[in-house]
Symmetry: C2
Subunit: 223 residues, 2 copies
């Protein structure tokens, strides 16, 4: 079936209303990770906030980045990170997408989103920041750098993973963590949560070798 395409020029995008453009542009990058950031302020008040901008920066040392906007609801989170230099990342599963999404509401600073949305806190054993008990994968990170991006003053927080907690049976002999089996969600746009279904798993690609889809192999073996 041929589908007619829509074409947006730079000036078409410029003319969109603010909310429409935000939703539109946030959809275009593709699927995003769903994580809750756990932080504490100086008075040990707990804060938890959803982010969809976590990105792999490097494996050795193990670094993750996340883009944060200083003037949004993420302000408390960013201030806490700057104060303590630590934070946790906690995967969002299908069991609590509503609670996770509710953390994006603008609660007063003194309010703990954990209590307001009904998620449970667990202490990290290595840093002064709260894990989300309900999450399947929990990471403790120490800030290595915060880079202010000159283009629009958003801040790229780069942290090193100093603890990783995950279900025992989720990791295979190659080091791959089956985040689908962990019930991790993907996000699209600003408000949409998706479960996943693996359709292909390949090896490392080489110029003159055909790729084999391991999922097909497994299906064949089970027949």
């Amino acid at each position: 079936m041929l589908t007619k395409n829509l074409q947006f020029s730079a000036s078409d995008i410029e003319k969109l209303s603010q909310r429409y453009r935000a939703e539109f542009i946030n959809s275009l990058s593709g699927f995003k990770s769903a994580n809750l950031v756990g932080t504490r302020d100086k008075q040990n008040n707990n804060n938890v906030c959803i982010v969809s901008s976590v990105v792999h920066v490097g494996a050795h040392p193990p670094l993750l980045g996340m883009i944060m906007r200083p003037h949004t609801v993420q302000r408390d989170t960013l201030e806490n990170i700057k104060t303590t230099s630590v934070y946790t990342l906690n995967s969002v599963t299908s069991k609590f997408t509503q609670q996770a999404h509710q953390t994006s509401a603008r609660y007063p600073h003194s309010v703990s989103e954990f209590e307001k949305v009904g998620l449970h806190m667990e202490d990290s054993t290595v840093i002064n920041a709260p894990y989300v008990a309900e999450s399947s994968i929990k990471l403790s990170l120490e800030v290595q750098d915060i880079v202010v991006l000159p283009v629009n003053q958003t801040e790229l927080v780069i942290g090193q993973i100093v603890e990783a907690i995950l279900p025992e049976n989720s990791i295979d002999k190659t080091g791959y963590v089956d985040i689908e089996a962990c019930d991790n969600m993907a996000i699209s746009g600003l408000v949409s949560y998706h479960a996943t279904q693996r359709i292909a798993r390949y090896g490392y690609a080489k110029p003159n070798e055909e790729l084999i889809n391991i999922c097909d192999e497994i299906t064949r073996e089970n027949k």
Copy 2:
């Protein structure tokens, strides 16, 4: 069912073998976007390369970032981007995950991955870079900044969207693009491709309002 957890400390991670650690750390951030980057060199040779590190940087102006490692297969792509200051991003669908993944093989510079993997090229009308004809969503970008991250010398390429092409029926009145209906894939780890199934869509969260899952509403209406 209670699952036993595995716990990795910083020194546990440090001790992992290089390949295992790469696969492991690449899994931990959560689901990633699946895009093909289209570029050209000075001699107009076409290059196409898969990236899973595209991240939303801002909506006004519309900016996307991607983390690139100078010493990997992405080197040609990065060199072309630095030469021409433009590139395209093209969504990967279930129809061509194998071809998309094959672009990560180390082909000689003079070889066009389009021909080698069997994908088709289409000219962007606004920049000198190739689109992937098979993709459902195609974006033209102009480089606004390339930030070298001091922590590990990876480079964050930030581009502004100057053209967006997408199926007419994929965008709703809020600006949301249904990238699931566009058959966009999500990536986990280094080699796994996933289709998605929307399980929740909420509104903007407010402190004293319960979130409604629009997916539930739609299911109810169809009964």
